[in-house]
């Protein structure tokens, strides 16, 4: 797989927040069709990494390549237009707006004909129908009304809406930052099933998680992040959870040959 060209790649990424160096010359590769898990301690810089490759923060240094071509995302919208869909750790929903509004934020569907073309009227029935269908596909939604404001949902339900949005629209890459952190057992399982479903459609996924069993269950490769950089990349077949935890917490040195991988 490493011989292929990575679909999304970060090279030598650096991001400083004041005195903190959240990304310290970090590399990152995602190959077509794979599920890449990113694991690491709290504050290791995982969220910053995926923000840097998805346009939510501009790295101070380094470059991002999409299908081998250098890209310079200046906003999440820009990355999205290139087919990269991200669920951020802090979710990014507008609490007062409805579920359907949130799902289509920034890519609204307009009515056909005069109303849509000249009066730029939204096609609400179409958007609602689509949103309801996506939530049903996900199956985990105990949502009664698609026009309900997002703020009336529980944390788990919001998580579900965000994941459904990414899965519905991501065409090249889907990035999920701790998608199951706030979820119950049942809801987590649904999200994991969804991830496998998306993968079976051929879309590669980046999954950040602190849940080792989940990571080992799903991932094709595991990017171990430590102190702002990639420590190593391992395959779940080759190492145990114990090893992974040991690498990421610094209990064990990473094997030399993997550091370069």
């Amino acid at each position: 797989m490493e011989q292929q060209q990575p679909i999304l790649q970060g090279k030598n990424l650096v991001k400083r927040y004041g005195r903190v160096v959240a990304l310290d010359h970090c590399d990152f590769e995602l190959y077509p069709g794979e599920i890449l898990a990113v694991i690491g301690d709290n504050g290791a810089g995982k969220s910053t990494l995926i923000k840097a490759v998805s346009g939510a923060v501009t790295p101070d240094d380094g470059e991002v390549l999409l299908e081998g071509k250098r890209v310079n995302f200046h906003s999440p919208l820009h990355a999205r237009e290139h087919g990269i869909e991200t669920v951020y750790q802090q979710l990014a929903m507008s609490p007062a707006l409805s579920i359907a509004d949130n799902m289509f934020m920034g890519r609204e569907i307009r009515k056909e004909g005069f109303m849509g073309k000249y009066l730029r009227m939204l096609d609400r029935p179409a958007m609602e129908k689509f949103a309801r269908q996506k939530l049903n596909d996900l199956g985990l939604m105990t949502i009664q009304n698609i026009n309900q404001a997002v703020e009336t949902l529980s944390g788990g339900q919001r998580q579900g809406v965000a994941v459904a949005r990414a899965a519905a629209f991501g065409s090249k890459v889907i990035i999920l930052d701790e998608p199951t952190a706030a979820l119950g057992v049942k809801e987590s399982r649904k999200v994991l099933e969804l991830i496998q479903d998306v993968k079976s459609r051929g879309i590669p996924i980046v999954l950040i998680s602190h849940n080792m069993p989940h990571v080992f269950e799903l991932a094709d490769r595991i990017h171990v992040h430590r102190l702002g950089k990639r420590l190593c990349v391992i395959r779940p077949q080759d190492y145990t959870m114990n090893d992974a935890v040991a690498f990421m917490t610094g209990a064990k040195e990473a094997p030399d040959e993997l550091v370069a991988a």
């Binding site: 951020y88 507008s94 007062a96 934020m105 399982r189």
Partner: protein
């Protein structure tokens, strides 16, 4: 292969039988009051509408035909037209969780530009009017640029802009008023918003029609277009909107520009209303427009409320002012009671929200 990387964790096997039904909570509370409260909660602009209708009824009963006549009621419309138009501009900005303290100043500068361009430089009135509108839009652009790009708080930006625009206005106009008679003779188009027509005993001006149409159009735009949804999203949580793909800077700048343009229209409207072009107009524009917006139920924290509410808010103040005057309250008492009204209206609003969530 790790021993745990089997399909699912063992304790999850029972999930297949889990209930898939929606959690249904019974609403055990019954009765009219709760139904009303719920309706009010769902349609926030209903609250000011009800306050408005109630106050019309109360003053109508107290004052009879003196108040409850087409003449008096349309007079209120005419009196609130300027505040109503400014409140529309203000609402847009407040919906994005901003505030615009420069609305009054932009209005008066625009009207001075329209007047002075026509009379000082002899430019034809239609062109001067376009220049005035452009001037308002430019001021709005500056506000928006500073807010969106330099990331300054809107309160500060528009506070500074208020002083700058107002001082520019006085310096540029040299405090000269252009008299109504001169305008009527040489450039009647400047007074277009003052042209009247009557339907029964009711007298309407172009300005009133403009105000109502403006609010209706903005209501449509905010509810039914993507741009409108983005305005709400930005007010709700700017960062979230940005992350979920809204071009926040662009939308913010467009909001402030539109607000400036609407203020410039208010500048045109005020020429119609007072006949002349006076650089001392509109000094209370800020506080009055904010009051209308707030009574109309738009949250100062952004993202919540309907622009229709602002129109109702402006009308409520208008009804109270005229009603109290007709009841014989003098200016100082009216002023005091409007203060009580502001607090009262928002308290009622809060109560309704609290009880009905």
């Amino acid at each position: 292969m790790s021993e745990s990387a089997s399909k699912g964790q063992d304790y999850e096997s029972s999930l297949s039988g889990a209930s898939q039904s929606v959690a249904q909570f019974e609403d055990t509370r019954k009765g009219l009051v709760h139904k009303i409260q719920h309706a009010l909660h769902v349609t926030p602009s209903l609250v000011p509408l009800i306050v408005l209708l109630l106050s019309i009824v109360v003053f109508g009963v107290l004052l009879g035909s003196k108040f409850f006549s087409p003449f008096a009621l349309t007079l209120i419309l005419q009196q609130v037209q300027i505040v109503g138009i400014l409140a529309a501009a203000q609402s847009l900005v407040i919906l994005t969780a901003g505030i615009d303290l420069s609305v009054g100043a932009i209005m008066v500068l625009s009207s001075v530009v329209m007047g002075q361009f026509t009379f000082r430089y002899g430019i034809p009135a239609p062109i001067s009017i376009v220049c005035g509108l452009a001037c308002g839009t430019l001021c709005g652009f500056l506000n928006g640029w500073l807010v969106a790009k330099i990331k300054l708080p809107p309160f500060i930006v528009t506070l500074g802009m208020w002083q700058i625009v107002l001082a520019t206005n006085f310096l540029y106009s040299a405090n000269e008023t252009i008299r109504a008679q001169d305008i009527e003779a040489n450039a009647p188009l400047l007074q277009a918003f003052g042209w009247k027509f009557s339907v029964g005993g009711a007298v309407f001006t172009i300005g009133v029609v403009f105000m109502v149409l403006l609010i209706l159009i903005l209501t449509y735009v905010l509810r039914q277009t993507a741009w409108g949804r983005h305005v709400y999203a930005i007010g709700d949580d700017k960062e979230a909107a940005e992350l979920s793909g809204v071009q926040t800077d662009r939308v913010l700048i467009s909001v402030y520009m539109l607000s400036g343009l609407i203020c410039a229209f208010a500048g045109w409207a005020i020429i119609g209303r007072i006949g002349s072009v006076s650089p001392t107009s509109g000094q209370l524009g800020n506080i009055e427009s904010i009051t209308a917006v707030v009574i109309g139920g738009i949250s100062l924290f952004g993202g919540r409320g309907s622009i229709l509410g602002s129109l109702f808010g402006a009308l409520i103040v208008g009804v109270f002012t005229l009603g109290l005057r007709l009841l014989g309250a003098d200016a100082q008492w009216t002023y005091l009671l409007i203060g009580v009204l502001i607090i009262g209206a928002v308290a009622v609003d809060q109560w309704i929200r609290k009880v009905s969530v």
